[in-house]
């Protein structure tokens, strides 16, 4: 009953405000930036079914994304993690910035991505998969004390091809707390809306409110052991449902492709966009 009430609050909440069509990816980035002055808040989780004898985990995280300009988007993450038979812990924060060097649409559009992570080894949101597969056997009490300060960069390439978005991300990460060399990873995705034409009806289940696709992501080792050996890779469908003008639900069950991967990851998220926030704040502060 309580769950049903929450569902309808979420669905009806979508009737407020106005927003934009969302990419359904969880890991892959496209060239579409947050609109200048808009704030998007998303609550997501990554739930994992690990290999036998390891506990299940769920890693919730909050994203606050803001369009500083039309070509500069900044985003703050706060994340946690809980495991069956273990504790729930706060696993840290991330601050990312994306810059789009070219204003116009091209056949291939590029975005530069820079992120600083102040996390611990308990982090399992898996916003990117880099380096070699890591074991997840130590208890949370131990993992929470192993801090990692990491710098991450991505080259994001993204194209629009016959209503499909096709995006490729190349990732380089450096752990400043340990000598692991530079770690590499990738993410590739493609999606399209279910309907090419928008219907005139005011409907929640129209095809234009759904985007579907797939994404593939994984690690490529590091400067110390480059390649696919002992790496984790995931492949899964992605679905996004634009519930209302400003809210969307996202879902992606992904299967692990290698022994180093969790057999199954289930990702889900809910996002809400506040449009024109920057202009309103500026107005309140007496700006024009």
């Amino acid at each position: 009953m309580r769950g049903a009430s929450f569902f309808w609050i979420v669905v009806l909440g979508g009737a407020i405000g106005s927003g934009a069509q969302e990419a359904p990816y969880f890991v892959t980035y496209t060239h579409h930036m947050e609109e200048a002055g808009n704030l998007e808040v998303a609550v997501s989780s990554t739930a994992g079914v690990p290999r036998s004898s390891q506990p299940w985990f769920v890693a919730p995280y909050v994203e606050v994304e803001y369009g500083i300009t039309g070509r500069w988007t900044t985003e703050l993450y706060l994340e946690g993690q809980a495991r069956t038979g273990d504790s729930a812990i706060f696993t840290g924060w991330r601050l990312e910035n994306r810059f789009r060097p070219f204003a116009r649409e091209h056949r291939i559009n590029s975005v530069l991505y820079f992120e600083y992570e102040g996390i611990n080894e308990g982090s399992r949101i898996l916003k990117e998969v880099v380096g070699n597969a890591s074991s997840f056997e130590a208890p949370n009490d131990q993992l929470r004390n192993e801090h990692a300060h990491e710098l991450e960069t991505k080259l994001i390439l993204s194209s629009t091809v016959h209503d499909w978005n096709v995006a490729e991300n190349f990732i380089v990460e450096k752990n400043l707390s340990q000598n692991e060399g530079f770690e590499f990873g990738y993410a590739i995705g493609a999606y399209r809306p279910l309907a090419r034409l928008a219907s005139g009806a005011d409907c929640r289940f129209c095809g234009e409110n759904f985007t579907v696709g797939a994404e593939l992501y994984g690690g490529l080792g590091s400067t110390e052991s480059f390649g696919f050996r002992d790496t984790a890779h995931y492949l899964g469908p992605v679905v996004s449902w634009q519930i209302g003008d400003s809210t969307a639900l996202h879902l992606s069950p992904a299967i692990g492709l290698t022994h180093g991967s969790s057999p199954l990851l289930v990702r889900f998220g809910y996002s809400f966009e506040l449009r024109g926030l920057g202009a309103r704040v500026s107005h309140w502060l007496g700006g024009r």
Partner: protein
């Protein structure tokens, strides 16, 4: 002056101020010739206008206003300087945006939905 007349004048002044009647085009925001000559594949499709209206309300109203007259620095879409532009130019501008001047790119929308928005923009044309 009666209170009703004062209110009417104030209301008209507010409407006038809300409209972006001073809109000036960005001279650097020009569609290439290849885009400008493209025709709207949905031209004459009256059934597609309602979908265009829905898309406009979802993506454009925040800046351009429900009546298209423009808020903040956004274009007043009812002005001849906008309505005189070919469909292909408007489609190109919706697709590419002008991010340095506040107009986002809507390339994330399917091609036909962008044409639907162009179709709906034509309903703002003043006789």
């Amino acid at each position: 002056m009666t209170a009703r007349a004062a209110f009417l004048i104030a209301a008209l002044a507010a409407i006038g101020l809300a409209q972006n009647i001073d809109y000036r085009q960005d001279s650097k925001w020009r569609a290439p010739e290849s885009a400008a000559v493209r025709g709207n594949p949905l031209a004459g499709r009256e059934d597609a206008v309602a979908g265009g209206r829905k898309l406009f309300q979802r993506h454009c109203v925040e800046c351009h206003g429900a009546d298209g007259t423009g808020r903040k620095k956004a274009a007043n879409l009812t002005l001849p300087v906008v309505q005189a532009q070919p469909d292909g130019v408007l489609h190109w501008k919706i697709t590419n945006g002008n991010p340095d001047r506040g107009m986002p790119s809507f390339s994330r929308l399917p091609e036909l939905q962008r044409w639907q928005i162009v179709l709906y923009l034509r309903t703002f044309k003043q006789p």
